[in-house]
Symmetry: C2
Subunit: 505 residues, 2 copies
């Protein structure tokens, strides 16, 4: 085993237990861990850190690529070891601690974290903990199912701990494309001209002496938690497919569209699945996380190439894909998230980006992160990198949540992640609003008309009418802008109808 997995002989003596490796971590340190949307996370050393934190004062700032699996965020939080967390998470226990104000969470554009690290504008990484399939002859680290921020973490850290995961096939070697921009002012263009361009190396080069510990693990990535497409998400997908058909008919797009980015979660995955039964062909993806639908599209012969920063799959799909990775390998690249999400590349390639909203307002501002304006769900992730720089930016959401007690289209969003300037299309199961080239008052008419069901549709038209009496470029009745949200808080529903019923009963 060790010949293949640790190819630089002098490093083999660094193999140790997770408990032993965790001793490198000191109270107050900033730790950079591999892991992006549950893929390729360090799996055993973090748990050993949590174990230590049960009996000694040990608090860390934790940076990752994005969210982790294997209950790492949960376990560290429960052990009281987590003081600060960036740039993304999606764990219920950690989320609750963040919302109680116990963990300081810095929710960031995913392309920006390593820029800030590199320029020392945020605290430096003391120790990096990186999952790998192997270490090469020169001591370079070959990542597993995600790249995320691993390369920059390893390069910038003083010490590096590597978790070699034996459940991950050595066949993954060659999948990754590690490119690190030069320090300014000597920085050059990111030379990606097409989604399939390889511009870097297949492993993360660091001085081997920085690798202070190597831990052998056999734990799998956690399976994706997304739900399969349902009736509503199928409708969202079909509205979008019809929209693109019209774009092709009108000569604005070809039948292979433009490279596609799709956000995380159930809805984005379902929307991508909708392309399986579409007339489009030779599609490509330049995205962040590659979910089940990416491989369904490969299998359906619809997709030519996919570039991402991680592969996050359901358990069944994971078996199918990783047992047959050779079948897909020449059509896949995993890049650092700085590159998968780079504004330069997104604008140059001209992506169609499809992200998800918790709520949208009548003018097309988007809240993707804060439930009722205050409570963090996951984070903005890469959606801001993509939406701002896209050729065409789509946001999808179901028109209602919580059995209709919440309208996902509201008079004014309670938190803005994406401003109306960055939102070209809003689509719900009800329909699609094409907002390109429209002023706010026109946007409001389109959104309410096409994306909302009763009783919220009439309620929104009423709000808009009252707001327009007050005038303005973007009319609002400020004292009523959040009345729906406060009604939900007080009565359990945003609907006036149900609210009245409840009051009567």
């Amino acid at each position: 085993m060790q010949e293949q997995r640790i190819r630089l002989p002098e490093l083999r003596k660094r193999v140790c237990s997770a408990e032993h490796a965790a001793l490198w971590i000191e109270d107050g340190m900033t730790i950079g861990m591999s892991g992006f949307t549950r893929a390729g996370d360090a799996k055993v050393v973090p748990l050993a850190i949590a174990e230590r934190a049960k009996t000694e004062h040990l608090k860390i700032s934790l940076m990752t690529g994005a969210s982790l699996g294997n209950d790492v965020d949960k376990t560290l939080t429960e052990a009281g070891a987590m003081s600060r967390r960036m740039p993304f998470q999606s764990d219920p226990t950690l989320r609750a601690a963040i919302n109680r104000g116990e963990v300081m969470y810095v929710d960031q554009h995913l392309s920006e974290t390593v820029e800030q690290l590199r320029t020392r504008q945020i605290n430096a990484i003391d120790v990096a903990i990186i999952e790998a399939i192997a270490i090469t002859e020169t001591g370079a680290i070959i990542p597993t199912t995600s790249v995320g921020n691993s390369a920059s973490f390893a390069i910038l850290a003083d010490q590096v701990i590597v978790e070699i995961n034996l459940t991950q096939s050595l066949e993954l070697e060659g999948l990754h494309d590690i490119f690190i921009p030069k320090h300014r002012p000597r920085r050059e263009p990111v030379p990606i001209m097409s989604v399939s361009d390889r511009i870097g190396s297949t492993a993360i080069s660091i001085p081997p002496e920085k690798i202070v510990a190597i831990v052998i693990t056999q734990k799998s990535d956690s399976a994706s938690t997304i739900l399969p497409p349902d009736h509503d998400t199928a409708k969202i997908a079909s509205h979008l497919v019809n929209f693109f058909k019209d774009e092709v008919r009108d000569g604005r797009l070809t039948n292979s569209l433009m490279p596609l980015q799709a956000g995380i979660g159930t809805i984005a995955n379902a929307v991508m699945s909708g392309f399986i039964d579409s007339p489009f062909e030779h599609l490509t993806m330049y995205s962040e996380v590659l979910q089940d639908s990416t491989f369904d599209l490969f299998d359906a012969g619809k997709l030519d190439f996919a570039s991402g920063s991680s592969i996050t799959l359901s358990s069944q799909k994971s078996r199918e894909v990783f047992n047959n990775i050779g079948k897909y390998k020449d059509r896949l690249i995993l890049r650092p998230q700085e590159i998968s999400n780079h504004p330069e590349v997104i604008r140059r390639l001209g992506l169609i980006t499809i992200n998800t909203a918790l709520e949208a307002d009548i003018y097309g501002n988007i809240n993707s992160t804060h439930v009722l304006g205050t409570h963090m769900m996951n984070g903005i992730g890469g959606s801001g990198d993509f939406a701002r720089n896209a050729y065409l930016s789509v946001f999808a959401t179901k028109s209602i949540a919580k059995d209709g007690k919440i309208s996902s289209i509201v008079p004014m969003v309670t938190h803005v992640d994406h401003t109306e300037h960055d939102v070209d299309i809003i689509v719900t199961e009800i329909g699609l609003a094409d907002l390109r080239g429209l002023a706010p008052r026109e946007r409001a008419q389109k959104i309410i008309q096409h994306c909302v069901a009763e009783p919220y549709k009439q309620m929104l038209f009423d709000y808009l009418a009252e707001a327009e009496l007050r005038g303005g470029h973007t009319p609002h009745v400020l004292e009523k802008a959040y009345a729906w949200h406060t009604r939900y808080r007080e009565t359990g529903t945003m609907s006036e109808v149900a609210g009245t019923l409840k009051a009567v009963a």
Copy 2:
């Protein structure tokens, strides 16, 4: 005259009056005009269009680079000729019409307009009207004091009308650098590696037969309307200079900082003036509009090079600069706004961006456009292009407006142009909040502590305390989030103290 100003002989027969040229415009057309922040705008044909509109049904959609001078927006609005306007304006008459809902205004990121035009995602330009110093031997157009969107407008329009402005010196030739990105999927990197890189041609090449009319004018650019630095803006500048000194001391920046971008208006200009008496040297600018302070910095020997999309000066400064343009010419470039504001270049060069807020909230979200959340001031301009992609994003504002009746720091902004993710530093005359690497609750403490004066400081701490009782990552009391704005609307002040006094009186 004509030999120098219209160098392609066959075009000389196209010279005509403004009235005659205006006959090319038909009702319902989309017109692309030169002009960026009052510089280099077409000056006489638009007024002839307005004249026609007084006696016939003539409504146009007007696109420009940014705002216009010479009362063009005002005159077209008063004549009822303006149905739609994008991507920026700053005219009081037009603004009022927009806020009445009479003119549909599409407020856009300034780098994006021509991308949308080129891909036909917004209505095509029928006629372009471009101010020029001259037309070359090949029929190429040499712009005047701005480039803005003029190049793409001329290239994409069916017909082009040129206004040759004799008050603009032929010495401006060579100042401009016209570069147009290729159509996707053949697009390549924008090859700017340093602010002074020239990557294009000095004139806008189009087939000469598209030039259907040439009008000779002698009207000057309107002078900038910004006010000179005052006590408060000097304090803002000094807080910022001190912050940068500390960054240099801590080794994060060198004494020449990074290339600077400064927004439009009084405050941004004053902040830049603050660098005159700073220890920094060999500064550079990669900005959008170059205001008086740019030339003051040149004269003070502080600035090595400035790249922008327009030059907008006070009348005195304008005389000084344009009568001595030779003195500055080798240190200046004017680029299309797509390039001056290009996310790719902004990220690569690593700009320090300094833009202005109308209001900011305790978490660092910024409203730069909507007074009391509804009424358009100017527009987002390029601030979103810059802030999102900056090395360091600063927003400046005075802590109060309207003699203290308005606090510029509020519990929750009534409109979001820039989300907290895009705001690293907030500075007012009171002080500066460095928000890098902080979570929302920490940001709130810093902003309230450092940027706000009484009575609003205590009022904000009270709001935050009440909000924190409700919990959440970004605590708010939704039903009170806009209480300050509604109080101002009802009582004429946001202050509770004054409000009570008034109620008693």
